[in-house]
């Protein structure tokens, strides 16, 4: 039991007590946590919920201007604070319950494509197969897989989406010419977000 102020041993003790009693469920609730123990045919189950607000030493970096903690950090931790600020900038919108949602902003998807649509071939979006970080090159400093104007076949790799430490190659899926990028290198892309558009061969 690692999810509330009770330890694994505490839960074991409670279960030992419950085992001899005719109850099948214990719902323990305090302002700080809730623990639900249930007797099932196979044995006991536990569901825990912590609900205390974190005590942030810094103002939780909600505001990039206020991220430094005590005086010493501001002097020693220049790079840390800078990084906090940029991270915060990228994650600003959306609820805390679903940080992944805050990355669903896809630059360029909404605007700037009307002109392109009017040209001859059909514009086909290449979408992110998974939510994650989009990389245009196989490694830092290497040439991008493709550039605007690159010729691609259906199986040409146009980039990588890194999700939970796994690198997923993204194929073009269609033959044609790369028309535009909708997600910049090293930006987060939501599941299904348009990474780039390809003017398909006719």
């Amino acid at each position: 039991m690692d999810l509330n102020s009770l330890t694994q041993d505490d839960v074991a003790d409670i279960l030992a007590l419950l085992d001899s009693l005719p109850y099948d469920e214990l719902d323990l609730e305090t302002p700080r946590f809730r623990l639900t123990l249930r007797r099932t045919p196979g044995g006991w189950t536990q569901a825990a919920e912590v609900r205390s607000a974190p005590t942030a030493l810094t103002p939780a970096s909600r505001d990039a201007d206020e991220v430094s903690g005590t005086g010493k950090a501001a002097a020693d931790g220049g790079s840390a604070q800078a990084e906090t600020a940029s991270m915060e900038h990228r994650c600003r919108p959306s609820s805390i319950d679903a940080p992944s949602m805050s990355f669903e902003r896809v630059p360029g998807e909404a605007g700037g494509e009307a002109g392109a649509r009017e040209a001859d071939g059909e514009l086909v979006p290449v979408r992110a197969p998974l939510p994650g970080t989009f990389y245009r090159a196989p490694r830092p400093g290497a040439a991008p897989f493709v550039e605007v104007g690159s010729r691609v076949d259906a199986d040409t790799v146009i980039g990588i989406v890194e999700t939970m430490k796994l690198m997923n190659s993204v194929p073009a899926g269609v033959a044609g010419t790369v028309a535009e990028f909708c997600v910049a290198n090293a930006e987060f892309a939501a599941h299904g977000a348009t990474l780039l558009r390809i003017r398909a061969d006719r």
Binding site: T55, D76, P140, T163
Partner: protein, 471 residues
């Protein structure tokens, strides 16, 4: 020194795990949190949190520690846990690094250096050698590799592979965690495998060096837990981690089942010998490859940190390994003698990951809608999730570890089966169905499976599901 306030530079279940011990010992905890983790369960459990941009930024982590007034850093596993730069930066800042010395981290982190140390300490090491950098200079993903062409000849590496004999394993010198690893079965694949492994290694570890090693199959992965104070080194028994998919451990157990006593004693002695040779300080793991048929073992690598699978060792030893780490970091010397370490029963751990085993283990980030875990005798669950928890896409997929301990392996397997039936995680896909099916498998229940077992088993399972659907 007595540690009064510790900064935990990690996230997820290991952050909760370290918090627990610190709180039990009366040590105040400050948890470093990224923006995505600011309201996580570990953040709520910590006495205090401090914002950092990234768990990988040495300067940021040290600055946060100083700002928080903490006198030590616990790095957990992964991230900066084995980074000698952090250990040195701690020293410069007058902060205790809860882990081995920077010199040991350097020796262990460079797999080639670790091989040399192991050989010097008298451990058996697999034949192998470094691939010259110009031969590894090609990088890219699959088709990309062909496009950029094979810069530099592969004569040297082909010669080396020929001397070792195929198949050979291409490994990253700066590596770990299965990245930069490739099995090569014939000379035609060697150039590309070296290039891809080197590119992966560069991306993951900022070190493109790769080396070749003889590939042993069938084989098992057995490791020995060691604990040292710089002068004395003891072992805390062994673990078997042969249930792996793509070099990622999924099930671990202690002790390693069906291992001959000579082999077991030899490996434990070898691990201690290496620890003494390194003047090892803190908690570490010496990993071995075992050929059970020939009763032979070879050194693989040293993991200079607490490991994901440490709870199985805690279950059979009754020790709190984080507490022992802290004791050594406080300079108190080993509190245990080898004779005082008693191993009791058998423990098995399942890693419950946010991955969909029915869809090629595709990562499944999202929001957890329900999280119900088993409770009862011999069971332990280490987790950082509850209903409503976010599973962000930018971190690894480990959600929880379920550990079943029994008087013997049969009881542990039985408890594991019952416990898995009572696990229920909603909102994200998990590896729970895989673990349930695996725990029910007779070959797994018999024990002592080798490294190829899971991939073969997955192939059979997929086929059997398909046959069911067509029937």
């Amino acid at each position: 020194v007595i540690l009064r306030r510790v900064l935990i530079a990690n996230r997820g279940e290991i952050a909760v795990r370290v918090l627990r011990t610190c709180q039990r010992l009366g040590i105040e905890t400050v948890l470093a949190v990224s923006a995505a983790d600011a309201d996580s369960v570990p953040a709520q459990l910590a006495d205090k949190t401090i914002a950092i941009g990234s768990y990988l930024n040495v300067e940021g982590v040290v600055a946060a520690t100083v700002a928080a007034g903490a006198d030590a850093i616990h790095p957990g596993y992964g991230f900066l846990s084995e980074n000698p730069r952090l250990a040195r930066a701690c020293e410069a800042a007058g902060v205790v690094f809860i882990g081995p010395s920077a010199d040991v981290l350097e020796a262990a982190g460079d797999k080639l250096a670790a091989r040399r140390h192991a050989a010097a300490a008298g451990l058996p090491v697999l034949p192998g050698g470094l691939v010259e950098s110009r031969e590894a200079g090609v990088a890219g993903e699959t088709s990309e590799a062909e496009e950029t062409g094979g810069a530099g000849g592969t004569g040297g590496v082909i010669g080396l592979a020929g001397r070792l004999g195929y198949p050979v394993l291409v490994k990253a010198a700066g590596g770990g965690g299965g990245r930069g690893l490739r099995v090569v079965r014939d000379p035609g694949q060697l150039g590309e495998a070296v290039a891809v492994a080197s590119a992966e290694a560069l991306a993951a570890f900022s070190d493109p060096r790769v080396y070749l090693e003889r590939y042993v199959s069938p084989a098992r992965h057995v490791e020995v837990q060691v604990l040292g104070d710089g002068e004395n080194v003891i072992h805390l028994g062994d673990r078997d981690c042969s249930v792996q998919r793509r070099y990622q451990k999924l099930v671990e157990e202690a002790p390693a089942p069906l291992l001959g006593e000579t082999l077991r004693v030899g490996m434990r002695a070898a691990a201690v010998a290496l620890g003494l040779h390194l003047k090892y300080q803190g908690l570490g793991t010496v990993e071995f490859l075992v050929d059970p048929e020939r009763s032979a073992f070879w050194f693989l690598e040293v993991n200079a940190r607490i490991q994901v699978e440490h709870p199985v060792t805690e279950a059979v030893t009754g020790l709190d390994l984080v507490e022992e780490q802290i004791a050594v970091a406080e300079g108190r010397g080993l509190r245990l003698s080898q004779a005082s370490v008693r191993l009791d029963g058998h423990a098995i751990e399942c890693r419950i990951n946010a991955e969909d085993p029915a869809a090629g283990f595709r990562p499944s980030p999202g929001t957890v809608t329900s999280a119900v875990f088993p409770a009862g005798p011999g069971l332990r669950v280490d987790t950082h999730i509850q209903a409503g928890s976010a599973v962000p896409p930018q971190y690894d997929s480990l959600l929880a570890k379920l550990v079943a301990h029994g008087a013997d392996r049969a009881q542990a397997v039985n408890r594991l089966r019952g416990a898995l039936d009572r696990c229920e995680i909603g909102g994200v896909a998990t590896t729970l169905p895989l673990h349930a099916a695996l725990a029910a498998d007779e070959e797994f229940a018999a024990g002592g499976v080798e490294l190829g077992f899971l991939e073969g088993w997955l192939g059979r399972e997929t086929r059997s599901v398909r046959d069911h659907q067509h029937a």
